[in-house]
């Protein structure tokens, strides 16, 4: 047989036939990755480097001053930075935990329980994959106000827990687990809940990791909740503080309304603080993904819409 020259999936080692891919991937990921690298570099720049002309991409004399400014600036506004951070962490941890619970429970139900309406329910959820929360901000606000959730921690968490994508991915993942496992446990007298907790949950760890990442990203980055549903300054989260900061000090390139505000603040310190803020906002997402990426890819293998 002639040597196979077609697609080689997941090769074990480098071969020169892969060179063409690297020649495309390396410049491509440089273009995509440089702005990311820039987030880090910019955050550690002292003010003379932030406004240097011509601007330098990489920091030369790294400093933590931007982070210190960021923390102090919050204190000036009455709510200390640690408070925003604390709120963000509490809300993210609570949200991720609840999201995992709620989603995996429902996914097991959809995958393994026999009952009427199961198919319809899955169809509705698949339809909801196309749901864009930003489109219904207004009725969501009205619903939340009616439920009396305004100004509670719950409002930062509850609207973001039911994740159609999460349910979808976990359900598809549980579909792959063998039914024999469940049957034999039931013969031994286990209830559905016991099967779920003791057998299924431990073996769907990759899917759980994926839900955790997705819901963390959504909650950690969410500016809508603290903006619209919370009036009490001391209950707001980091995305809100960063947004206010951006409006107050005015970002680079902002003119008109935002530029007028910039004149009152300190635009030089402002840009540094914003850079530090971007980094704080971004890094937890990145770390979580780096740690869990192999599990995410594993889950995604079963992500198909059939």
């Amino acid at each position: 047989m002639a040597k196979f020259s077609g697609m080689k999936i997941n090769p074990k080692r480098y071969h020169r036939s892969q060179l063409k891919f690297f020649l495309f991937l390396i410049p491509m990921s440089m273009f995509i990755g440089l702005p990311i690298l820039f987030i880090f570099s910019h955050a550690f720049k002292p003010s003379n480097e932030l406004y240097a002309f011509p601007p330098r991409f990489l920091v030369r004399v790294p400093t933590l001053q931007n982070f210190i400014d960021l923390v102090n600036f919050a204190g000036d506004g009455g709510v200390p930075f640690s408070r925003y951070l604390f709120n963000s962490v509490v809300v993210a941890v609570l949200g991720v935990f609840l999201s995992i619970m709620v989603t995996t429970l429902a996914a097991y139900g959809l995958s393994k329980l026999k009952f009427r309406g199961r198919k319809v329910m899955f169809e509705i959820n698949t339809l909801a994959l196309m749901f864009v929360p930003i489109a219904v901000t207004i009725p969501r606000y009205i619903t939340i106000a009616r439920l009396g959730l305004i100004d509670t921690y719950w409002v930062l968490v509850l609207p973001l827990i039911a994740l159609p994508v999460g349910l979808f991915l976990v359900k598809q993942f549980i579909d792959q687990t063998p039914n024999e496992l469940i049957e034999s446990a039931k013969i031994d007298g286990a209830s559905e809940m016991e099967v779920f907790l003791k057998i299924i949950f431990p073996i769907i760890a990759p899917a759980v990791a994926t839900v955790a990442i997705l819901s963390f990203q959504i909650i950690w980055n969410d500016p809508v909740g603290p903006n619209l549903y919370i009036d009490d300054e001391s209950m707001k989260t980091l995305p809100f503080y960063f947004q206010t900061l951006a409006a107050q000090v005015g970002g680079p390139g902002a003119t008109g309304g935002a530029g007028g505000a910039a004149a009152q603040g300190n635009p030089v310190a402002g840009q540094g603080m914003l850079a530090a803020a971007s980094m704080i906002q971004f890094v937890p997402n990145l770390l979580l993904f780096i740690f869990l990426q192999s599990k995410v890819i594993n889950t995604m293998a079963h992500s198909g819409i059939k």
Binding site: I9, G253, I290, G304
Partner: protein
């Protein structure tokens, strides 16, 4: 207690409750409010189809700017982002594990920069004075005499939004497609070549895509949703809603403009409903394009 939990209700109640409260009810309410005049203070007043009629006949901003912008943005960012995701995933699947992981992390990371991080980052690159990276570079090379107001100029804003959105389009769908390709049985390719398959193009269209169609569909839905969500970036980049001369105004911004700036919630709801219908139609259209049922 746990020993007797067999009923589906134990599994579904929390999800269904939250799903209804924050997804189903708001969507239904948007539909209901879209037939009313509602200024948030008085009770909504039923006005039939008037919001929709106004949207299509009176709202010049919508017809002249928002709708064309949204269509242009969606029809570039959606398909190009989707194809780019596939192409990159396809290449990644053909290199060894370690470099693949590193590339995948780099390519996926822009989709994790939301809101402030994304806006700050790109505002520095496109800043309208000489400290903006692009301006500084072009001034340095003598390409321009004075800095260009990228973010406040209607001529540039839309294109910048498209670039930034494409930059961040390797999201969940990209990961799904990567996993899909990695899962294809190598044997399929070898068999196809023995049967006379000749080149890479045939490979992609006869083996790769059909074998991972479910992931392709999932990726398509994710691409459509991401496209319409990320559209908000125009307001963050230019720092104003409405964007300068409505150059970067998309439907999500129009909703916010009417709902939370002018407090015409009934009208804004009509725009929301239209947006949901558009997203749904595009997703379904993509499905039939990709051949859902074969």
């Amino acid at each position: 207690m746990i020993k007797r939990m067999n009923h589906p209700a134990w599994f579904f109640t929390p999800y269904v409750l939250l799903f209804s409260m924050f997804i189903v009810i708001p969507v239904l309410m948007a539909i209901g409010l879209s037939f009313t005049y509602f200024n948030t203070i008085e009770t909504p007043e039923y006005i039939g189809l008037r919001n929709y009629i106004e949207l299509f006949t009176r709202d010049e901003v919508f017809m002249q700017h928002v709708l064309p912008n949204t269509v242009k943005f969606a029809f570039i960012v959606g398909p190009v982002g989707y194809m780019l995701s596939f192409l990159l995933a396809w290449m990644l699947a053909q290199i060894p594990h370690r470099p693949r992981t590193i590339f995948a992390i780099i390519l996926y990371s822009p989709s994790m920069t939301a809101g402030i991080a994304m806006a700050v980052l790109w505002r520095v690159v496109f800043s309208g004075d000489q400290t903006g990276y692009l301006n500084a570079m072009m001034l340095n090379w003598g390409l321009i005499q004075e800095p260009i107001q990228f973010l406040t100029s209607p001529n540039y804003l839309m294109n910048i939004m498209i670039i930034v959105s494409l930059w961040s389009s390797m999201g969940v769908g990209f990961l799904a497609m990567l996993a899909g390709i990695l899962n294809i049985d190598q044997y399929l390719y070898e068999a196809a070549y023995m049967d006379g398959m000749k080149n890479r193009w045939q490979e992609i269209f006869y083996i790769t895509i059909p074998s991972m169609k479910p992931q392709m569909l999932f990726g398509a839905v994710m691409a459509v949703v991401a496209t319409f969500t990320v559209g908000y970036i125009g307001v963050q980049l230019s720092g104003a809603n409405p964007t300068p001369q409505y150059a970067g105004q998309l439907m999500v911004n129009h909703i916010e403009d009417f709902g939370f700036i002018r407090f015409l919630m009934g009208y804004a709801s009509a725009v929301s409903v239209l947006l949901l219908i558009i997203i749904y139609t595009i997703s379904k259209g993509t499905f039939s394009l990709l051949g859902e049922r074969d």
